[in-house]
Amino acid sequence: MVIDLLGNSLDRKPRVIMMARGITLAAIAIQLVAPTFEAFVFRLTFATIYGIGALVIAGRSAPFVQLAGASTYLIASIAKNVIDLPVAEPPSTLWGQIIDDTRQEVAHRIIPPYGSRQWQLGWASDGKPFIYVCARGRLEPPETLVVMVNGSAISELNTSQMFGPRPQLESVGFYRIPVLRDLFNGSPALDIQVRRDVRATLPMEICGTITARPTAGFESSRFFDGTSWISPWTTRQGRFQIELRLEGPGGHVFGAWY
């Protein structure tokens, strides 16, 4: 038994082939029922290029292949007009949270993945831990942010910690803060807080982004606006850009977590 995939079989099953062609034209016609003029023109253009092109080029394939292809095209064309499932609207990958009051605070919890292969390799290779905090502009005390880990202040952000490209002075970018390895002895989680320096007079902006792989759950980022805590996961499907990295010599990154 053999299955003939090719061959110009018009003379053998002309009715099937004519049916396939009719179905293709019907599919094209259905696509032209478009909600806007632009969509009509665009669909007409591509239905012509692909639909009619397929008709012309597929002439050599077997009748049942043509019929199956045309039927699929028709079903998909109907579904496009009937099923109302809009294209997704992705959450913003870069947004900012202004801190303009000393009572305000950004908090983020990270559970270091002690058991992961990346962590163990980095730790065994004498990797150094760093906290990364993303903020807008060039921060220099006193107009800066203060980073605390598990209740202790570890650094004020300054220009020597700036990491990565910043095309303009006011661009956003990471600040890279070294932390002691001792911090991880017996500490199941890092509770990181970022506040405005008490001496600062200008508003500061901490960056936020999407969250997909949080180590401490999707609610691990929070913002205290002076009266209540707000989760960027709830409002934006996001988190603050506060991360932990384990790095080797020459800045080799073993892993990055948030």
């Binding site: 038994m1 053999v2 299955i3 003939d4 995939l5 090719l6 061959g7 478009a34 909600p35 806007t36 632009e38 969509a39 023109v41 665009f42 669909r43 253009t45 591509f46 290029i49 692909y50 092109g53 012309v56 080029i57 050599r60 998909a76 579904a79 496009k80 009937v82 099923i83 109302d84 499932l85 809009p86 294209v87 997704a88 992705p90 959450p91 990958t93 292969r117 990346q118 993303c134 990491f163 990565g164 490209p165 970018g173 990471f174 982004t209 999407i210 997909a212 792989r213 499907q237 850009q241 991360e243 990295r245 800045g251 080799h252 990154v253 073993f254 892993g255 990055a256 977590w257 948030y258």
Partner: protein
């Protein structure tokens, strides 16, 4: 199980010419390096060997292409060993498929689906290789260059495709973007959005076209080589290939474009290479298919190079002109319509290609020093190795040596058609993903290499054990499976060990390291 074929007295690609091209390329590369003042990047042997290899390989392909074009101009079709002028060992084979073959192909499609599923979300290598631990773009966040699409994390360039997708679904008005020229991909994706949602519509489209690539390479394998197993081995290599795994669930047109290039090679064989008939209507059909494919992403460039190199120019130039004109007309037609409705067709790859050409002008004007430094800064070796790592090159070299001349010529044209634009683009970006368009030629040559090694293996086994056909067959199959599993282990290293090395190589191209 030897891959054999008809012998040809003269040819577009003769072994002598190929060896002459390679020898000349190596000579020029060595001369360039020896004649130049010592630069910092020539200080160590690793960098030196990198430049020499990059220059030699690039010049080899260039000289082979030039010699083929000259032969093509000079030689009449009656003596040309083109695919056009030679019948295949068993042409009916490509038409008739046994249920057993269908079963095997279904299993290979299942393998594709498994690879696709295992590399979804944050395990997509395109996305994963942009994370800081890949040690390339360390200034990005821990998720890399990412977006959230229907709750799935995905490569972020997809963001720029959504306005066009909304336009096709009728949810928004046209918005210009860098990706206006790739609208064909979104037209196709828009059919799956109502069924699957946006993330899975992109991923599902990639999977369907991955399947098509598998079937196309299988078909090309059994068409160009006499041994049936070449097609099946090639299909498995596509299912586990770096390029398709890398792009499998990315909301990008690359996987679709790779597959469409494979389909175009099939269409070319069916329309223009099956007989000597290269009538205008067939050329228009191929040109139409190429133009429609070019609206997905870049496919028209390797396809047109292929069209001009694979057939004898002297006798088929009219078909080539008609095919090219039709292709460009389709592309221009979309630009006119799109521009009328507010799209810009500016920026993106068109602008980068222009920059690459401008950089080439600088390189050429700069003389020998600049040409040699191109071998360092533009990383031609790294670009080709990023697309196909050493084992594939070694297997392909064995396959090239053992293939019949017609198949070897055909595969060489496919390699040139894909590598030429990738190498030309290196003055702006190093893009192994463009070089991966060579997969039909490269993976089928590698299949012949695997077949050859398995034949040797079966002969060795049969000389020690029983020399029965069943034992030889079992040894052959065991060797093939072992090699395929070893290669799949390389392309799945990200899943097995967590190492992103090969994904990074495919994303950014290798540096001077070996």
């Amino acid at each position: 199980m030897r891959a054999t074929g008809p012998s040809n007295p003269v040819g577009v690609f003769r072994v002598r010419k190929e060896f002459a091209s390679v020898t000349l390329a190596i000579g020029i590369s060595v001369f360039l390096i020896c004649a130049l003042p010592i630069a910092d990047y020539l200080a160590d042997w690793s960098a030196l060997a990198d430049i020499a290899t990059g220059l030699a390989v690039s010049l080899s392909f260039l000289f082979i292409a030039i010699s083929s074009a000259f032969s093509s101009l000079k030689t009449g079709q009656t003596v040309l060993p083109s695919i056009t002028t030679h019948t295949y060992p068993e042409t009916r084979r490509t038409r008739n498929v046994t249920p057993f073959t269908v079963l095997i192909l279904m299993a290979v499609l299942g393998l594709c689906s498994l690879e696709w599923y295992l590399h979804r979300d944050d395990r997509n290598p395109f996305l994963a290789s942009s994370r800081p631990e890949a040690n390339e773009d360390t200034w990005l966040t821990a998720d890399g260059y990412a977006m959230l699409l229907d709750g799935h994390i995905a490569q972020n360039d997809g963001t720029f495709l959504l306005p066009m997708l909304r336009m096709f679904t009728g949810d928004a008005r046209p918005e210009p973007s860098e990706f206006d020229a790739r609208a064909g991909h979104l037209y196709v994706v828009s059919f799956l959005v109502p069924w699957l949602g946006t993330y899975w519509a992109f991923a599902g489209t990639n999977l369907v076209f991955w399947w098509l690539a598998v079937v196309s390479v299988w078909w090309l394998g059994i068409r160009h080589w006499s041994e049936k197993s070449i097609g099946v081995i090639g299909a498995v290599l596509v299912a586990t290939s770096q390029g398709f795994i890398f792009m499998g669930t990315a909301p990008q047109p690359h996987a679709v474009a790779y597959a469409v290039f494979g389909v175009l090679l099939v269409v070319h064989d069916l329309l223009l290479n099956r007989q000597l008939d290269t009538s205008a209507s067939k050329a228009v059909r191929f040109g139409w298919a190429t133009g429609a494919s070019g609206l997905i992403y870049f496919v028209h460039v390797p396809s047109l190079i292929y069209l001009w190199l694979v057939m004898p120019l002297r006798t088929h130039w009219r078909a080539m002109v008609v095919g090219t004109f039709t292709t460009l007309s389709i592309l221009a037609f979309w630009q006119v319509i799109g521009s009328y409705l507010g799209l810009s067709f500016s920026g993106g790859n068109s602008a980068l290609a222009t920059e690459a050409i401008a950089n080439w002008m600088v390189v050429v004007r700069g003389g020998l020093q600049n040409i040699a430094s191109w071998g360092h800064y533009s990383r031609p070796r790294g670009t080709l190795l990023g697309a196909f790592w050493y084992p594939w090159w070694i297997l392909a070299a064995i396959g090239w040596w053992k293939s019949p001349r017609i198949a070897r010529n055909w595969a060489m044209v496919v390699l040139i058609a894909a590598f030429a634009p990738a190498l030309l683009f290196t003055t702006r970006f190093q893009l192994p993903r463009v070089a991966f368009f060579a997969y039909p030629g490269m993976l089928l040559l590698a299949s012949v290499g695997i077949d050859e090694i398995a034949n040797v293996g079966s002969r060795i086994v049969s000389s020690f054990v029983l020399g029965t056909a069943a034992v030889r067959r079992a040894a052959y199959i065991a060797t093939v499976i072992t090699i395929l599993m070893a290669l799949a282990t390389v392309t799945n290293r990200d899943l097995i060990t967590g190492s992103l090395r090969f994904a990074v190589n495919f994303h950014y191209a290798l540096g001077t390291e070996w």
